[in-house]
């Protein structure tokens, strides 16, 4: 009890001081009462865990948003995913008598923390988003991260939900004693020749042979097979086909259903698919899953979708590396599109816009089916010039220095071009004004629930 009081007291103080209490209360509570996690964990009826290398936070928030539709839950927001963060999240949902106010927990847990805490919680479902490593091991030896995930999971009776397109996650599935289900993309989304080819390739974790790929979805994700053995990409239990902002889910023995996603980009699509699969395993139907997706608030400017007419997807760009990954994500979307780019050069943006010439805008000219481009902002003309030299046809470009005019022009151009989505790229000081303008143009009748974003 003392531990919980200490934790709650610190939480209260922090809250009164206007500060966020994501792990400090947990740190002190655990110091006073080291058994706190197990004590509180015992009060839960079920715990759903999300772990993996990338996308844990997005996947956890998506899943939490869905599970919340069915009743109160405990969750650790903002990626506080080690012991202290978990304790803080539980304390927050505990009353002063030490009773948890929810029976379900959706927890993001760090890979290395998982084996330390797995026995504290009734983990019924565990989802692994993916396992990315800098260097894939040629000799079939598992590195310590994978070892830890497998150890942690083996100690539970959880149903495992894994990314079957990821050969490393597949290896975890093969080593797991319990039930394993896989999610994956439909083969129609395979690319034969990815532009960012993996330098080292991926190797079979059973025998060390170089895996053969029928095609790639993204990075090491794809349809793979070991030429020597029977290590291969499993048939997905949850198979997704993407059409614009809609994810069509195929599940054996179930009618196909479509879900409108609040996020774009392949990485986010995998996160959403992982969350949907976990929600399905927890018994959620189409309704609460869609409501959960609708209630999700994506971070500002990270492939953030606005239901304008047609829809627009907002992205922040601020340096060549970040800009390149946004350009790649946009060009990965196979549909025809319009691109709106706002470049400012105020202090927060960086007054020197030289970096526009170091970023790979050639991508927009060469790939990505970009039907038209509108540029705006204090340096909109510089941006247009950059695209001209990237080889983008000038007759398909327009410069509109005024932000409102630029938004109008690109949306009406997109409507003329058969309701193509508008991908919006903004430097920092243009981001908020742009988000505000897009929000104002959100079509209230296109969607039953008002579409909310994180702009306030």
């Amino acid at each position: 009890m003392l531990g919980i009081w200490v934790g709650k007291l610190i939480e209260l103080v922090l809250r009164l001081a206007g500060r966020r209490a994501t792990s400090l209360p947990g740190k002190w509570a655990l110091r006073v009462s080291p058994e706190l996690l197990a004590k509180l964990g015992r009060q839960l009826e079920r715990c759903i865990v999300v772990t993996g290398t990338n996308g844990k936070t997005t996947t956890t928030s998506l899943l939490a948003s869905m599970m919340r539709q069915e009743g109160p839950i405990v969750t650790n927001a903002e990626g506080a995913n080690m012991r202290q963060g978990l304790a803080a999240a539980l304390i927050k949902h505990t009353d002063w008598r030490g009773r948890l106010r929810a029976k379900t927990a959706v927890l993001e847990i760090d890979e290395a923390t998982l084996p330390l805490v797995a026995s504290c919680f009734p983990i019924r479902v565990a989802a692994v988003t993916n396992v990315f490593r800098d260097q894939l091991d040629r000799y079939g030896e598992l590195d310590s991260t994978m070892q830890k995930i497998m150890e942690g999971l083996a100690a539970t009776e959880a149903v495992l939900i894994l990314n079957g397109d990821d050969p490393l996650a597949r290896r975890i599935g093969l080593g797991h004693p319990g039930r394993v289900l896989y999610f994956g993309l439909d083969e129609r989304h395979l690319n034969a020749q990815p532009r960012e080819q993996m330098r080292d390739g991926a190797f079979c974790l059973e025998c060390g042979a170089r895996l053969q790929y029928e095609g790639f979805f993204y990075g090491q994700l794809g349809v793979y097979r070991c030429p020597r053995g029977d290590f291969f990409r499993p048939h997905p239990d949850f198979r997704a086909t993407i059409e614009g902002a809609t994810l069509h889910l195929q599940e054996p023995g179930q009618p196909d259903v479509g879900f409108r996603l609040p996020v774009r980009g392949l990485f986010n699509i995998y996160n959403a698919l992982c969350a949907i699969a976990a929600a399905r395993v927890c018994g959620l139907g189409r309704g609460p899953i869609q409501q959960g997706l609708d209630a999700f608030r994506p971070p500002l400017g990270r492939m953030q979708v606005f239901c304008t007419d047609p829809e627009s997807i907002l992205n922040l760009i601020k340096n060549p590396t970040g800009c390149d990954s946004v350009l790649q994500a946009i060009c990965h979307e196979s549909e025809p599109k319009v691109v709106l780019i706002a470049i400012n050069d105020l202090a927060a943006d960086g007054r020197d816009v030289s970096w526009l010439w170091d970023a790979d805008f050639e991508l927009l000219a060469e790939a990505g089916r970009v039907l038209g481009v509108v540029t705006t902002g204090l340096r909109g003309e510089d941006m247009a010039l950059r695209l001209k030299y990237a080889g983008y046809p000038v007759e398909r470009m327009q410069v509109k220095p005024d932000l409102d005019e630029a938004v109008e022009t690109s949306l009406s151009l997109a409507r003329q071009l058969g309701d193509a989505p508008v991908y919006v790229l903004c430097t920092y000081t243009a981001l908020y004004p742009m988000a505000e303008r897009l929000q104002r143009r959100v079509n209230r009748y296109s969607h039953e629930t008002a579409y909310r974003t994180s702009v306030s």
Partner: protein, 242 residues
């Protein structure tokens, strides 16, 4: 016949969008049907001046700058012969400083330069940073861009232009850059060439003459270049368009 542009030390000097300047030069050749090739010269290599028609020398951080200086001075006499024979050189920022006798660091130590020009640079405080426009005379018109340098440069040659707004060579004498033979040095980047197509074509013309290419440079549609140039002058420098 091919126009051969040497890009010096891309492995050491990758600041300030050399890429942009190269992109502009090569595209403006291709749009006119002029065959062009960019030859990257890495820091371990000896430049083969007899094979180049234009040399680009960019800028880098102080540390990179010293490494480049050490690499450059090894071939000082090659550089002198080539420049005296009329080889066009475009040197920006750090590259500009290295054309002279030395760059004096804040601690008093002098980093030796190429000694192509009668030019010296002393580190100063604060950095001279911001948007800049210069009047570069009838042929080149107004040149615009961004400057960001700690060094104050003085030289005994013709400047590239007179400062209309900004700091220029040293923030004192109202001059910016240098011109000597076919060598052009400047602090202006942003990058330098996209918004200054007249300067870009001037440099290409020098290179093609030097190469002995018999073709005249056809004018291009420069509406977008001009629009960016004018918008920058009006909106960012509050100067009338030129």
């Amino acid at each position: 016949m091919k126009l051969r542009i040497a890009h010096l030390y891309p492995d050491l000097l990758n600041l300030y969008a050399d890429k942009g300047n190269i992109r502009v030069l090569t595209q403006r050749c291709r749009w006119r049907g002029v065959d062009v090739e960019v030859i990257p010269v890495l820091s371990g290599e000896r430049p083969r001046f007899e094979e180049y028609h234009l040399v680009l020398l960019g800028g880098g951080s102080d540390r990179e700058q010293e490494l480049v200086a050490q690499t450059l001075v090894k071939h000082r006499s090659d550089w002198r012969h080539a420049a005296a024979a009329g080889l066009p050189v475009l040197a920006v920022c750090g590259g500009y400083q290295l054309l002279g006798h030395y760059y004096q660091l804040p601690n008093g130590r002098k980093v030796e330069g190429l000694e192509l020009l009668d030019l010296v640079t002393h580190a100063g405080h604060p950095r001279l940073t911001g948007n800049i426009a210069i009047d570069a005379g009838e042929t080149l018109g107004t040149i615009v861009g961004f400057e960001n340098h700690g060094g104050r440069t003085e030289h005994a040659h013709e400047p590239l232009g007179k400062v209309l707004k900004g700091h220029g060579n040293n923030g004192r004498d109202g001059l910016e850059g240098v011109r000597w033979q076919n060598v052009i040095g400047t602090y202006i980047h942003g990058p330098l060439l996209p918004k200054n197509p007249r300067l870009a074509d001037h440099i290409l013309r020098l290179a093609m003459d030097y190469a002995g290419m018999p073709i005249a440079l056809q004018p291009l549609e420069d509406e977008w270049e001009q629009a960016a140039h004018d918008a920058f002058l009006e909106r960012r420098l509050e100067l009338p368009r030129t």
